[in-house]
């Protein structure tokens, strides 16, 4: 494997999110908190979501982990902010598809920066890093809906 291959994993935009994470911190006011970790590698994320009238008003995260898990969390918070819960979940499913290496086609939904993570699909050992934040979001929304 050459560096070209590594470059498909460590895209510039990923490293930018890793170095300058967006929405890192805590949500002011009413919010729900989800803690999730990846027990096999020690990555850890705390996600805070403010959901009003089925809209994700705010999303912030904190945690420790590799460039893939932290940049993915940064991108996710950016992507779901202002979206309907249903849309956020749909994005999560699209993201899972992306990680499975499947073509993602949906003109209604722009994944933006997130598409930079599609290179992860070629590194099976790292897929769980990328999906950690999304799993946390799904769990938060589930808990909220059950409550």
């Amino acid at each position: 494997m050459s560096f070209n291959n590594l470059d498909t994993l460590y895209r510039q935009v990923i490293m930018d999110h890793y170095k300058n994470p967006r929405n890192r911190g805590t949500v002011e006011g009413d919010h729900l908190t989800v803690d999730m970790n990846n027990p096999t590698c020690g990555d850890r994320i705390q996600l805070q979501l403010q959901v009003n009238d089925d809209i994700v008003e705010d999303a912030k995260f904190d945690g420790e982990g590799c460039s893939i898990s932290m940049s993915s969390a940064s991108m996710m918070t950016q992507a779901i902010k202002g979206k309907k819960v249903e849309e956020a979940l749909k994005m999560s499913h699209m993201f899972s598809d992306l990680m499975l290496g499947n073509e993602v086609e949906d003109s209604d939904m722009d994944l933006g920066d997130i598409e930079a993570l599609q290179g992860v699909a070629k590194f099976p050992a790292r897929i769980k890093c990328a999906t950690l934040a999304w799993k946390a979001m799904e769990k938060g929304v589930d808990d909220e809906q059950e409550a």
């Binding site: 050459s2 291959n5 590594l6 510039q12 490293m15 170095k19 990555d43 982990g65 460039s67 890093c129």
Partner: protein, 406 residues
């Protein structure tokens, strides 16, 4: 030691990974297997696969002889007094759990203490946590020094007359610390406690003499010492094992079974309920033959040279933090400046170099080191200075790579 002959015995080493010759530096997770072990297992399945300790047919006798022959090899390898003291288990984890459940539930009660260290693998922490919770005993830790060693003075202070069990690693799987087992055993015994040694990282890499160490229990795994997965050993002093109840009940381990009551076979079989891991035990026997033929002393010396060389070469890499004491077993746990260990391991993998990244099943120790994860390079008899050169080059490459993108 003829390193070429050793390497030639391991078919897996002679391949390319991601376009580069494989450099395998993850033997502390699991070692590779020599052709002698692979062939021995194959011979069993091809030639005399049968259940052991039953039936009178020829194949069954052959299988039983090989299975019990492997037990004798283990006995000799760890210098146990008798094969009755050698119990085959699924691995180190099962061996420790057997002691925690069988010996622990019988001998530990409210107000008693169990003493361990913060450098333990999860498999030598959680069984004791569970035992403490179930019995009302207290779990105590011998504190670690800044370099990741323990002081005998601290062991003296932590172990009291209320201590019933002391459990610690022979060698730390993260720090490489070699613990003074014999001295700790003496302190445990002085206080009336028994000592269990987690030998998962010990038995593969050094001469183990359970009688000289005077440990009461010694647990280790086959797959870290050139044997197959799924087989391990619990050594225990006969006097203790005799008093202990089995934890698994069923076939193979019984003497007489009546409608409402049963009796157990004698040692070691009373602890081996169900059809055992026959191929695994026979494979472990072959691994012991292999290691013995190469020579444990030669292996120790080889690893020592490698670790010295690796330290010297790694010191030249700027931004590298090495964890653990000066005097260590054949592994180095480290971090490279701001690069997360997973990212480091991915870049090294792209270069054909296999290292471990993560918390190494030692979360309390990671907390103590104040890191969330580390990378680890571990060495065994088949590694060479060239492997280390490639690895150190890989570290430089990683730095350059992330230096560019950061």
């Amino acid at each position: 030691m003829d390193i070429k002959a050793v390497r030639d015995a391991f078919p897996i080493l002679h391949q390319e990974v991601n376009g580069h010759p494989l450099v395998y530096l993850d033997s502390s997770a699991t070692s590779q297997k020599p052709v002698q072990v692979i062939d021995k297992i194959s011979e069993y399945y091809r030639g005399y696969n049968s259940n052991v300790h039953r039936g009178v047919h020829t194949l069954g006798t052959h299988a039983t002889d090989e299975y019990e022959g492997a037990r004798e090899k283990v006995r000799k390898f760890i210098h146990a007094n008798s094969t009755q003291e050698v119990i085959f288990t699924r691995g180190t984890t099962t061996a420790i759990n057997t002691v925690a459940v069988s010996y622990g539930r019988e001998n530990v009660g409210e107000g008693d203490e169990i003493v361990i260290t913060p450098m333990e693998h999860h498999s030598n922490i959680i069984p004791w946590q569970q035992l403490a919770k179930a019995t009302g005993a207290t779990l105590k830790y011998v504190p670690l020094q800044a370099d990741g060693t323990i002081l005998l003075d601290d062991v003296e202070k932590t172990v009291t007359e209320n201590t019933k069990i002391v459990a610690l690693a022979h060698v730390s799987n993260v720090l490489g610390t070699i613990n003074p087992i014999k001295e700790v055993a003496a302190i445990a015994h002085k206080n009336g406690a028994v000592i269990l040694v987690d030998g998962a990282q010990g038995a593969p890499h050094m001469n183990v003499d359970v009688q000289d160490l005077d440990c009461d229990f010694y647990a280790f795994s086959g797959h870290k010492m050139c044997g197959p997965t799924g087989i391990g050993v619990l050594y225990g002093k006969k006097s203790l094992l005799n008093e202990m109840e089995p934890v698994e009940f069923g076939g193979e381990m019984i003497d007489f079974v009546n409608l409402y009551d049963s009796t157990w076979k004698e040692l070691p079989w009373k602890f081996e309920g169900g059809t055992p891991v026959i191929a695994g035990a026979i494979g472990l026997g072959a691994a012991i033959d292999f290691l013995t033929e190469v020579g444990l002393d030669q292996i120790v010396e080889h690893e020592h040279k490698l670790i010295e060389y690796a330290r010297k070469q790694m010191e030249q890499v700027e931004g590298l933090t090495i964890y653990g004491p000066e005097k260590r077993a054949g592994l180095i746990t480290f971090n490279l400046s701001d690069v997360h260990p997973h990212d480091l391991a991915t870049v090294l993998d792209a270069e054909g170099i296999a290292v471990r990244a993560g918390h190494h099943c030692a979360q309390p120790l990671m907390k103590w080191l104040e890191v969330s994860a580390t990378a680890r390079a571990s060495f065994y008899l088949y590694n060479t200075e060239e492997d280390i050169d490639r690895f150190v080059q890989g570290l430089q490459t990683t730095k350059e790579y992330f230096g560019d993108v950061f």
